[in-house]
Each structure stands twice: as structure tokens, then as C-alpha cells.
Symmetry: C2
Subunit: 605 residues, 2 copies
């Protein structure tokens, strides 16, 4: 279905049932609105110039019969089910916008809204209840209040002489503040990773980050990956609450840090958004993750019930809600949905491939026509956990390897000597060894004699530690076992990991009925993806063989998605469309998986 | 607007916009339904035989185009805006009903519902999330869950081998229980009075009370009436939380008692309903009551935001909601709305008057056409608080007085000697003294000489305590001051109290444009009203002069209303209609109040 907006002229293709307002938003066309799309502010007036758009139940409250006949509709309530040409009136106020995600232009419409109100004082002629007095003054919004708010609302009104600011989050009136505080409103976007947790304090007035901090997830001592952490909870009945506390501590500490850095009072933070994989979310919320860990891999819920910041142990405004990204499956979690939002994967015309590389890797392929997603259990190679000289991407880790003319160039993190190798270094090393033919296409180190023949300058590096053949990347003395090396088994680990991912995207391409060459762009996501050399990724067959400019390190798109969700309730609503529209493909138990997997173990020719 | 139901033939008059389902319910005509009127079960099918009933947005999901043309509609979604004849199909299941309130026949449709579910086990082919699996099985309901429930839901499902019972309250899925527990569901109806708190444990399967207990409100030491309690909170910043705790303790103790008496596990109580005056509600919820106590008398909210039993300190099911009756104004609270519900005041064709007699008295007059309500500040006379020999209606209190042939007959509570006089005794005594002309119509004791002349046998009782004239009701020795007597000032107190009430209903009659003689029935409500002698009430002018059978002691109608709310979500919804339809008349500051009040001070001729 096609939608054309006049006078701008932009044309977009959207799934049937998409609200006209959203279709416009995604294309950077702003339509007036203040109520959050609940049909209450009646400002998002558009006129249908061609095509059919049924009258919604709310429309007659906004328009006269004549206007309805002329095609006027509220854009937030109008679901396009037909090709349409829609006229958008000039804006009453020019909306602010911010750049976020992968080159996305996000119109600022935070879920957190403030309204400065000068309320009429009660009298015997006007005995409206305190709450009603506030709600009546919010004529474009119809939020709900809580018993908790009611405990302070009347006192605040009277102490402030009825000069107050209402704070609304989505459908909830969460506070009434004395005086005019409309210039102060903040949110925190959390990317709750298994390894690293990132908090971005967002100034909702400007749309700009006010502070960003990251730290290791304090659950780390309970296991490097999600499976280990789930196992911990299965072995010890206390572990779930311990892991929950650790996640909360991590988020609470980051909250303190970003507030201190930006000089923001935690009470001015009215909302948090949280993305993470399903295990991280369930652990943080105290929901038993065991069913995630074994077939048939069942999540508690795709969309979590409404939650508050305090459900994550985050001490901001006491009634601040928490927006939690929905998940598509046990291993395609809210972090991936956030990544899809940040990259606009489901709204872009181009066929794109999204890969979040990690112990569990997530893959999505598609365009605005159709998107498929799957999870590929890559194992820990990319985290370098089971690699002999593997280490996290920290000081002393080899993160880049280049082999030129029998010489080895290493990129090492920090101004220090190499002490180990991290995931991106591993991929580089293997890719370079394949290129210079010291590794054959099946992943075996070539015999010593052949090595000596083709690369006499490198042959001494191909040696043994114990019984295993290794390639020394960085000598520490003469002893290979004391040096930083790559073992035959390390290469195998990487082969399994990359084959798992490649099998995933091959299956998705097959399901979509397309070829790898049809892909316009590959987005490498996640903290690991950001450091991966596109050339090496192609060489080992981790990603399709495409022109290098088409392979993009997209960075921490999950965190960007979480940020976008603070900036726009419309973008946030898109996560529900992603949940509805993206088709999850379960790889476990597929008949074609093993065959394809074996094919992918080899390195491309 | 008139609605006729065929084949039953019952005809009812309802306000425009009333759902057809409700109109039927109020008249004891049962229509199938399981979803709580949310338009999800699609069972409440009715056919419009004559009149116009627009198609609702949900109707096309329930009916074919042909059925819609034939007039089929969902009764819960159909708002009557025209005279209608509606055909009600025979019931699929015969609904249970219970007698409650003032002769009301209540069809059992508790908000608390249970569904026994045999869920399909998850598999790689059916990876639906745990929550979705439950929701999908509840095809006639679409409840929401909470994070808290999600913490146990998956574990319960698995431990019970997917044989579970879902517990739904209104729009919330509050629990999943192992096995089939559908025969156990309970609620507690609380009447949270200033003096007495009553808890009725209701078996929602049978509609019958399983246990009833009452006790004094533990806030009593902080003042006998609402104004004193509010003053306490104004003088001491800690008092609000103390009073809140006291209310919670009272309700918690009653909960324990009714559970013990009926052998019910508190976890089987899935809901509470609470009615009380606005001060009691705000104190129990920790909301500052100060604005209630002084002009312009402002309540925090007419309808409180959604609350849980634990907001009242009641330890039943941890997610049990609390239904709180809405209030019409600072002094016409949820107890009165509950009373209106129990008496059917707003749905009855007869013109009726409802009076809840107390320190603050509430009065409502009307029929299904129109109802007006007001609050009359009667002062403490009826509680006998400022009466010289006054006491609460407890052992030793004179509760009835009769004067025959110069002899005095007393009804005393308990098998004991009279030690004081309670409210109903006071009214009786004054009424009898007026009848036998020892009190003149202005409320003065007649001169001693005249008393000796007309009632020689009583004249010795008309004497003095200090300088004040008194009438001794019960001698204790020869000393009048040691006896139980009625003083001139006591009579004045009662005059002020009854004049306040009479002024209230006179103003309502005037606003309605009717005469006292048009009233079909007077309902005396509240614990005091139940003990009042109708004849005495007429004699002192507290109620209009009507034939005595028309004056009914309706008993604790507030508690009955709270009970009805546990039995039927439809009846409960009626409280919102009461809030919308009943017109609150503020007596403070009315120009005609003082004139009328002075007129009403005298006793009727």
C-alpha cells in the first residue's frame, strides 16, 4: 500500500493498517499532535485527497459532518487500508528533531510531556475535585492518576497557589510540580547488555544526550554468557534474586553517574527505556529464565506488562515508567528490536541484512515489504572466551591483524604489549591466514613444508604448543606457549561460530526467496560488530560477499534504539509493529540446518 | 426513554445512553455474558425489534452483515438513545441470583472470574510465550497481566503440568493457580464507617455471605466524628499516617476474623469493595483530608484511581484489587452512593427520599427521572455525643421512650438498668414530650404549673439540674443530676439537628418542584436510621409527614451496596451512572438556607 503526502510529495509504502500519522513520522513529515496519538488533542488533522479512509469513532468529535465529507480525518486514528494521497496542513508549531540511530531523523515527541497550568482556585461555585481540576486543564490529554499521586496532589496545588506543572507519561499523570518546570525533563535509555550496560541520559527538551556512561554488568561473576547465568539460577534457588539485585545495582550506579555528570536531579528523570536480550530482561525483572535455556525456548512474554523504573531498582522519579522493548523470541530480544528501530530496518525500501554478532547472534533480513529474523547460537568464539589466548577487548588485546610480505602488523588496544587476542583480532587473524594460504579452505593449518615454501618469513611462527599446531601472532620470548598464538582449535571454534551465523542468513535468504547479491547493505551491530573489519568478515564468510562499502559497522544500535524510544512515542509504537510484522524463524530442529551448516564451515574460495 | 424486553415483556425507563445490557440487568432480565461487558465474549446477543440502535465498532466482529441488518447487536455495547423493543434470546446457562440490598434481586456476575484451563504444552512448533498461552486460552476475555504475576506464571504452569486456573478481576489477570480451583472464590465487602467498620465475606459462587463481622473503627480515640479526626491531622503532621494505620489495622483484624469464621484462606479472597464517607476513604488511603473540612469542601477525586486491597492494609490475595465507591461531594460519600445502589434509588419509578441520619446527614430525593442529593451538617445530637446523658447505643442506653397515662416506658439496651440515652431514645423522648405537650412547639419545656396541671403524674420529673430545666427519664435515687434526664439544651441540640436535615430535604423538594406528599417512600439509612422509630421521626419533623408504612428503616444499606458490588460488575458500573446522573446540591452559602432552617426549628403542629 502506498501513501503520498502533499504538498511535500513524499511517497511511502506501508503495511495495511498502518496509522497515517506513523507513516508520516517515519518519513520525517511532521503532523501536529500533542496527545500521544490517543485521539484526544484532535490536532493531527489531515485531508484525504484520494483513496478511501473510513471515519473513526473519534473523528466526529473533531470534525463537522461537512469536514468529514471533505475527507478530513485525525491522522492518529486513521489506518490506511488503501492507496492514499493525504494532504498535511502546515504545522502550527515547528517540531524539533534529532539525529539518532543509523542516520535517522527523529521528530521529538517524547512520551514525557509537561504542561504549565494556572488553575482556577476552588470555590463554592466550583467544587471540582482536585484531580478533576488538573485533568480539566489538560484539555488535549486525558491521563490517568494513581492513589500514590493523589496523596500529594492537593497539597502541591495549594502550596503552589494553583500555579503548577503537570507531568504526563504516555497515559499517566505521574506528578504535579509547583510552578513552571516545563524546561526540565529527562529520561535515561538503558542498553542492558550481558557484558556491558550503557546508560544515556537524554535531555528531552533538546533531544540531545546530556551524559553517557557504561560499565560491566555486575552479573559478570555469575557467568560470561546468558546460558551460564541461567544455569546459575537453576543450581541455586537464591541466585535469581542475587542476579536481579546485581542488574539493579549496575543500573542504579549508572543512574547516579549520569545524573552527577549532567547536574540533573534524579527526580527530573520521568522515564527510562530499557533494551536487552530476553535473559537480561527476565533476570532484571526477577522472572525465572529457565524456560529460555532449553527447547522449546519459551519467553515469559513478548511484550512485558507495564513496569516502572523502580522495577529495575532505578531511583529516579518515583512513578517514572519503564518502557521495555518487546522481544521476538527467546534469542531475538528487545536489544534486536531496538536495533531494528534504530536502523529503520522494517521501514526501509532497501533489502538489508542486520547481524548482531555475539555468543548468541541475531540476524534479520528484509525491507519494508517483509522482514525475517532468527537467532544463531554462535558460541563464545567472538567473545574470545574459549580461545586459548582469548581475552575481552581490553588493554593488551590484539584487535586487528594484518599480514604483509611475511611480516605481521598488529593493532593492540592501549599503549602496551600484546597479551591476548579479542574477537575482532581473531577474525582478522584467521581471515589473513586464509588469504595468505597458511590456513586452507577447510580451516586446517597447511603442512610445515608448504608453509616454509610459500611464506618462509612466517614459517617459524607455525609451530606447536603441546600436541596442537598453533600460529604465533606475538612472541613473548622463544616459548610459543608463553606467546600470543592462534591454535588449530581456535580456528575450529571460529569456523563453528561463523558457520552458525552464515547458516542463519542463508536460511533467511532462502525463506525470502532472494540471493545474497540482492542485499543492499549489511549492518554489523553490537559492541563486537562495531570493531569487526568488514573485509575480514567477508573473507571468512561471516557476511555475504558484497562490495565493502555495503558492509557497515553500525555500532551500538540497541542503545540508539533505546534513545530513540525516549525521544518519540511514535517511534516507540513502531516496536509493536516490529513485533507484529517481523517473522521469527526458529532454527532449532530445522531439517535443512545441518546440511547448510556443514557447507558453511569452510572458508569461501 | 423506554426499553421493552421481549418475550418477557418488561418495560423500563432509562436515561439516554444507558447500555441495553445494564437496563436489562437492573430489571432482573438476564442476558448471557462472560467478559464483563468489554465486548470480547460476544455472548450478549440481542435483536432490536423496533427502534434505532447504531452498530458499534465491535458488532461486526460478532455478527454477519445479514445479522446486523436483522437488528442483532451486542447488548453490552449498545447504548439506547431511542425507545426500543429488544428481543432477548433464551439463556445458554441460567444465571444465579441473590437477594441483596433493599429487596433487590441481583444477578450474579462477579468481577472476579475463574477459568479452568488445560493448556497445550509448548513445542518448537508452538513457541508462544507463557503469558500468551494463557491469554489465548481465555478466548472470551482479554485481561492484562503484571510484572509481578509474570514472576510466578511460568513456574506455576510447568509445576501443574499446564493444568491451571486463571483468576481474572475485571480487566486484570491476577493469578494462575495449579489445577481446578473454580469452586473457590471470595470477596470482602467493607463498610468503613466513622464509628463502626463492617466486613462481609462473600462467597462469589453462591452469592451468599460466608461471614460477617463488625468492630469499632480504631480511629475512634482520635475523635468521634470526621471533623475531629481531620483536625487531628491538621494539628499533628504524624497523625495522618497514624490514622491511616488505624484504619488498616481495623480492616486487617476484621479480615482475619471473617476468614477464620468461614474457614477461607485469605489467598482465596480476590477482591475487596470499600464504601465509606470521603474522610474515611482519604484517611485510609493516606490522602490529606484538610480540604474536606473547610469551604469550599474539596475532595481529592470523585472516583479514586485504581487501588489494591493492600492499599487498605488488607492481606488477602496479593494482587486483589479494591473497588472504591465514588463520592458525589465532600459530604456525600461512597457510603451514600452504595446506599443508592442498594436501594435502587436512581432506577426506581417511585419518588423516594433517602436519609442517612448522623452527625453529617446525607439526603437524596428522586426517582429514575432525576435524583438530587445534599449533605446536612446535623451536628452530633444523633450520636448523642453532646447530649448531657448521651451515650452510644450500647448496653444501658435508653433506645426507646413511650409516655402513657403519666407513666414512662423505657426500652433499654441489654438486661441492665438505664445509664444514659442514645440517639433513637433522644428522638423518642422528645417526640413523646411534644405529643403530651410537656414541650411546646418551639421546643421549650412548659412552665411547672402547666405541667402539674396537664400531667400531675409526670410533673415531678420536670425539674432542674443546676440552673437548667430537665426532664428525668429514669431516676437513680432522688437526685436528678445523678439520674438519666433530658435537658433543655439537649432538646435544642436535637432541634438544630433535625432542622438541618429537614431544611436539606425541603431544598431538594423545592429544586425538584415537588411537594413532600408526592414522596412514595422515605428510607432511613445508616446504623442510627435503623433504630429510629418512624412515628417519632415524623413527630419531630425529621422526615415528611407521611403514612407510617411509607417510612422504612432500611438498615445498613451502605454495607449492602458494598456486597452488591462484589456480586455484580454490572451493578458496580451503576455507581458511575450515579456519579454522572445524581445532582449534588451544595447547601453552604445558599441564600434560602437560613430562612428555611429557622422555619424547621419548631416541631410540627
Amino acid at each position: 500500500m502506498r501513501l503520498r503526502f502533499v504538498p511535500e510529495g513524499a511517497e511511502v509504502r506501508v503495511p495495511s493498517g498502518t496509522p497515517v500519522f506513523d507513516a508520516a513520522s517515519w518519513n520525517g513529515i511532521a503532523i501536529d499532535s500533542t496527545c500521544g496519538g490517543h485521539g484526544t488533542c484532535k490536532k493531527c488533522r489531515v485531508r484525504v485527497v484520494s483513496g478511501e479512509l473510513p471515519v473513526d469513532t473519534v473523528d466526529p468529535r473533531a470534525f463537522t459532518a461537512e469536514e468529514l465529507r471533505d475527507g478530513w480525518r485525525l491522522a492518529c486514528r486513521a489506518s490506511a487500508r488503501d492507496d492514499l494521497v493525504v494532504e498535511v496542513p502546515p504545522l502550527q508549531t515547528r517540531p524539533k528533531a534529532a539525529l539518532a540511530g543509523v542516520g535517522r531523523h527523529v521528530i521529538l515527541r517524547p512520551s514525557v510531556q509537561k504542561r504549565h497550568l494556572l488553575l482556577p482556585e476552588p470555590s463554592l461555585e466550583d467544587q471540582r475535585p482536585d484531580l478533576q481540576r488538573v485533568l480539566d486543564a489538560l484539555d488535549d490529554l486525558e491521563p490517568k492518576a494513581s492513589i500514590e499521586l493523589l496523596r500529594t496532589l492537593g497539597g502541591t496545588m495549594r502550596a503552589a497557589d494553583f500555579d503548577v506543572t503537570a507531568v504526563i507519561c504516555d497515559e499517566d499523570l505521574i506528578d504535579l510540580e509547583p510552578g513552571d518546570t516545563t524546561d526540565r525533563r529527562f529520561a535515561i535509555a538503558f542498553d542492558l547488555g550481558t557484558t556491558t550496560v550503557v546508560a544515556t541520559l537524554v535531555d528531552l527538551e533538546s533531544g540531545q544526550p546530556a551524559a553517557v556512561r557504561s560499565m560491566l554488568n555486575r552479573q559478570q561473576p555469575f557467568g560470561a554468557d546468558v546460558i551460564t547465568r541461567i544455569s546459575t539460577t537453576m543450581l541455586d534457588p537464591q541466585a535469581l534474586s542475587t542476579l536481579q539485585e546485581r542488574a539493579h545495582e549496575t543500573m542504579a550506579e549508572l543512574t547516579e553517574e549520569v545524573c552527577a555528570e549532567a547536574g540533573v536531579d534524579p527526580a527530573e528523570i520521568y522515564e527510562i527505556t530499557v533494551c536487552g536480550n530476553v535473559t537480561m530482561m527476565q533476570l532484571a525483572l526477577g522472572i525465572d529464565p529457565e524456560p529460555l535455556s532449553m527447547a522449546p525456548f519459551i519467553v515469559a512474554a513478548h511484550s512485558f506488562p507495564s513496569a516502572r523504573a523502580r522495577d529495575f531498582g532505578v531511583q529516579v522519579h518515583p512513578r517514572a515508567p519503564a518502557f521495555i522493548f518487546p522481544s521476538l523470541g527467546a534469542y531475538v530480544g528487545g536489544d534486536i528490536v531496538a536495533g531494528m528501530l534504530a536502523t529503520g530496518l522494517t521501514r526501509d525500501r532497501r533489502l538489508r541484512m542486520f547481524i548482531d554478532v555475539g555468543t548468541n547472534s541475531e540476524i534479520a533480513v528484509g525491507s519494508n515489504e517483509r522482514v525475517l529474523a532468527c537467532a544463531a547460537p554462535a558460541g563464545p568464539a567472538f567473545e574470545a572466551a574459549q580461545i586459548k589466548c582469548g581475552m575481552r577487548a581490553a588493554e593488551g588485546a590484539i584487535e586487528g591483524v594484518r599480514i604483509d610480505d611475511d611480516d605481521i602488523g598488529l593493532e593492540v588496544i592501549g599503549s602496551t604489549d600484546a597479551v591476548g587476542i579479542c574477537g575482532s583480532g581473531l577474525v582478522d587473524a584467521v581471515a589473513e591466514l586464509v588469504r595468505c594460504e597458511l590456513l586452507d579452505h577447510t580451516g586446517r593449518f597447511v603442512p610445515d613444508e608448504l608453509a616454509a615454501e610459500i611464506h618462509p618469513g612466517l614459517a617459524s611462527r607455525l609451530t606447536r604448543v603441546g600436541k596442537e599446531r598453533v600460529f604465533v601472532l606475538h612472541w613473548r620470548g622463544d616459548d610459543p606457549s608463553a606467546s600470543v598464538f592462534l591454535s588449530q582449535r581456535d580456528v575450529r571454534e571460529l569456523q563453528f561460530a561463523k558457520a552458525s551465523i552464515a547458516t542463519g542468513w542463508h536460511i533467511l535468504l532462502r525463506e525470502l526467496g532472494i540471493e545474497a547479491g540482492d542485499i543492499s547493505q549489511v549492518l554489523l551491530a553490537g559492541s563486537f560488530g562495531a570493531y569487526l573489519t568488514p573485509l575480514s568478515a567477508v573473507r571468512i564468510g561471516l557476511v555475504p560477499k558484497l562490495a565493502l562499502p555495503r558492509i557497515i559497522s553500525a555500532g551500538n544500535v540497541a542503545g540508539e534504539g533505546a534513545k530513540i524510544a525516549t525521544l518519540s512515542y511514535r517511534e516507540r509504537a513502531e516496536t509493536q509493529s516490529i513485533l507484529r510484522e517481523v517473522e521469527y524463524v526458529e532454527l532449532s530442529g530445522r531439517a535443512d540446518f545441518n546440511d547448510l551448516f556443514v557447507d558453511q564451515l569452510a572458508f569461501p574460495g
